[in-house]
């Protein structure tokens, strides 16, 4: 698949043409080091805490958290009700809480309504349950087109919904983030929550996908 890559003004892609130094810092690398230097001198940062944050988001927090929330909602109707009523508390009860004090709202897909999440402002995303956003979520193309032409965007993700299914687009903010609860796939009666969670893809919780179908996979 051919994709177009644009590069920023600092031109990450022409480093190769430069004469070879032993070491080279791009503008961005050097800018971040410069910020760190100032902040360290002012005693505003703790390097160990920085490392812990990177480690957390690279390895520990990811869409598996959200998948467990969705699977539980599929399996336990009481939990689903709580999630509908107060997603912030229901999700926090599973140990997943946001670092920015943001509120969560869970939006449930039905045969009548499909939910799609975007952040037109910047890239607000439910980190606590989905980890960090994928590249496309942060791109202007998605941020603008999800609102104008959600059905076209879904088609590009390979999701075609019946004409009768309404698409609701939710615009995230710094204070309120959305988690889509996809429809539970057919043929999953009696599955454990762990098994169900395996069907819940990241994209299905943003609304650009559906939960995986069970064809060809054993519970």
């Amino acid at each position: 698949m051919s994709t177009h890559h644009h590069h920023g003004a600092d031109g990450h892609d022409h480093d190769h043409d430069h004469h070879h130094h032993d070491n080279h810092y791009s503008d961005m690398q050097a800018r971040v080091r410069a910020l760190e230097t100032v902040l360290t001198e002012k005693g505003l940062i703790d390097p160990a805490a920085l490392d812990a944050i990177v480690e957390t988001y690279e390895t520990r927090v990811g869409p598996r958290n959200g998948a467990l929330v969705v699977a539980r909602a599929w399996a336990e109707s009481d939990f689903a009700d709580w999630l509908k009523r107060d997603a912030t508390a229901a999700i926090a009860s599973m140990g997943f809480t946001g670092r920015q004090g943001e509120h969560m709202r869970a939006v449930f897909n039905t045969t009548e309504t499909h939910n799609l999440v975007v952040c037109t402002l910047c890239s607000c995303y439910p980190w606590a349950v989905l980890g960090l956003p994928p590249v496309w979520y942060k791109a202007p193309a998605y941020r603008s087109r999800a609102v104008i032409d959600p059905r076209g965007v879904l088609a590009e993700f390979g999701v075609s919904l019946p004409e009768t299914t309404k698409i609701r687009v939710w615009d995230s903010t710094a204070e309120l983030r959305y988690l889509v609860v996809p429809e539970r796939p057919e043929g999953t009666e009696g599955w454990t929550q762990e098994e169900l969670a395996d069907l819940v893809t990241r994209d299905s919780m943003i609304g650009t996908g559906l939960a995986s179908s069970v064809k060809g996979r054993a519970p």
């Binding site: 080091r33 410069a34 002012k42 944050i53 590249v135 791109a139 202007p140 193309a141 998605y142």
Partner: protein
């Protein structure tokens, strides 16, 4: 298995960026550092998350930004720099001077040795 593997001519024409599930979230270490700095400074009360979102929004909405979000972390770093300047934490001139100092230090450091600011010959 997942729906996002499908590609279409339309996708390619419009250049909607794609990333498979499980892709690394940071393309380069400086992006991870910039991200961690922001989360950390917010937790320490240096700025509110609303202030951060507004600053990032300003940067990502600049017309020259790439349609596919390839320069998203460039925008992130610019947003952080501006916010810290506004807050009086780090003025732009100081940061720019240090940025150049780090670049000179990198060039002056032999391969295999750790790059430290003291290696800047003009420092």
């Amino acid at each position: 298995m997942s729906q996002c593997e499908t590609s279409s001519p339309f996708t390619e024409a419009e250049g909607l960026p794609r990333s498979a599930e499980g892709d690394p979230v940071f393309a380069e270490p400086w992006q991870a550092q910039a991200f961690a700095l922001t989360v950390h400074l917010h937790e320490r009360g240096v700025f509110g998350w609303n202030e951060w979102a507004a600053s990032l929004s300003r940067e990502v909405h600049r017309p020259e930004r790439a349609r596919d979000g390839a320069d998203y972390f460039d925008a992130w770093v610019a947003a952080l720099s501006h916010l810290l300047a506004e807050k009086g934490v780090a003025d732009q001139e100081t940061v720019l001077a240090l940025q150049h100092s780090w670049q000179r230090a990198a060039e002056a450091t032999p391969h295999g040795s750790p790059i430290v600011l003291e290696n800047d010959p003009l420092r």
